[in-house]
């Protein structure tokens, strides 16, 4: 998982590592169960060293990562804002895009619908290009078959964006 995802999940409020893990588990459901807790703490430590996160030590002075409260530094906030605005290329990484919408909505960083619209715009442009290329091919050419594969994948991505749009237009209870 990209470091930016971990950062963005902390944008709502400063949190303990275990709270962050709970948030990821809620967002990812069964897919989150495979997540390694150690991996997340390693990422948190890295982000702290890079100056993107600040950690509050607990009162007893222990330096254990599972006791710290992590918060974004101004630099961390800038990085999250960039990641939110970034359009995934060549195709959205599903989990990353999903978490982007959740992080943006829960921390009030951006309207998830705007993120969906931006992504859709890019995919539609690519679909247009792929289709033009397909239309220019003679019937039954080998290249046309490959182009059809690209068109079908883009269609699948666009359908999923439609589902995202519907979910965030009329949010399900609990989200």
């Amino acid at each position: 998982m990209r470091q930016e995802v971990v950062l963005a999940m902390l944008a709502k409020e400063p949190s303990h590592g275990y709270q962050l893990r709970a948030r990821l588990r809620d967002a990812l459901g069964p897919l989150g169960e495979a997540m390694n807790a150690g991996q997340i703490y390693v990422t948190l430590t890295r982000l702290e060293k890079a100056g993107l996160l600040a950690a509050d030590r607990p009162a007893d002075g222990a330096d254990r990562s599972d006791r710290k409260v992590y918060a974004l530094t101004p630099e961390g906030q800038r990085r999250v804002a960039e990641w939110i605005a970034e359009v995934s290329w060549p195709r959205p990484d599903l989990a990353e895009f999903h978490l982007k919408l959740i992080a943006a909505a829960s921390a009030g960083l951006a309207d998830p619908i705007t993120i969906v619209d931006t992504q859709r715009r890019e995919l539609l442009r690519r679909l247009r290009d792929a289709q033009r290329a397909a239309m220019a091919e003679p019937d039954r050419s080998d290249a046309a078959l490959l182009l059809e594969g690209i068109v079908l994948r883009l269609q699948a991505d666009l359908r999923w964006l439609e589902a995202c749009e519907q979910n965030w237009t009329h949010p399900r209870s609990g989200s």
């Binding site: 290329w89 060549p90 195709r91 539609l124 290009d129 289709q131 033009r132 594969g149």
Partner: protein, 248 residues
Amino acid sequence: MSDTAGTPLLRARGLRKEYGKGEGRVRAVDEVDLDVGAGETVAIMGPSGCGKSTLLHLLGGLDRPSRGEVSLNGRRIDDIGEKALARLRRTAVGFVFQSFHLMEELTAVENVELSALLAGRSPRAARRRAEELLEQVGLAGRARFLPSALSGGQRQRVAVARALSNEPLVVLADEPTGNLDSAATLDVLRLFEGLHEAGQTLVIVTHDVRIAATADRMISMRDGVLVDETRLTGGTTGRLGALAGLGD
């Protein structure tokens, strides 16, 4: 959502359509402003029930708005009489529907020439025009076939030929690929692309992203309102390889 210099060919302002009364009143189209320039292809996308078909009907004079204005070529069409409206629908607007709406007892060429005959052309001129159009949509060899003997894609191409028969100012299409498989969809896309290159103005409402992607502009509609607009011209050509695993 206005985007054209000078007077747009098709123009809607404050367009509204309501159904029902009192508590149960539904606003299917809610304060829509839209400009479509001559020669432009505009796709309107949205989920089922978002009001896009209703909007298309208002734009083509198939239905009258509860409020607001529609102008075609600078002339108001929302407040004209029934007769004038019927004439307008026959001559200035071409319609293409999801379920083709062909007359099952007429051959392809008879379906195409019918609207020219209704518009007052001579039988000879109407037939000549119909044959030209069927050739243009790649169906010259199927002119004497009944719709039942044609595939879905071929039927839709007949319907497009019919829509063009009176050289309409604008063609309005409602889910034109809704009943078609992948290969037939590509045929219809090619046909629309050809019309676009020939300067035909097209408004397509659809939830098929493939047809929306052929437009100059894609407009999203939700709950009766136009909410987002994407200009699709100026693409990413040359970067398609990344989508097929060939690197960027």
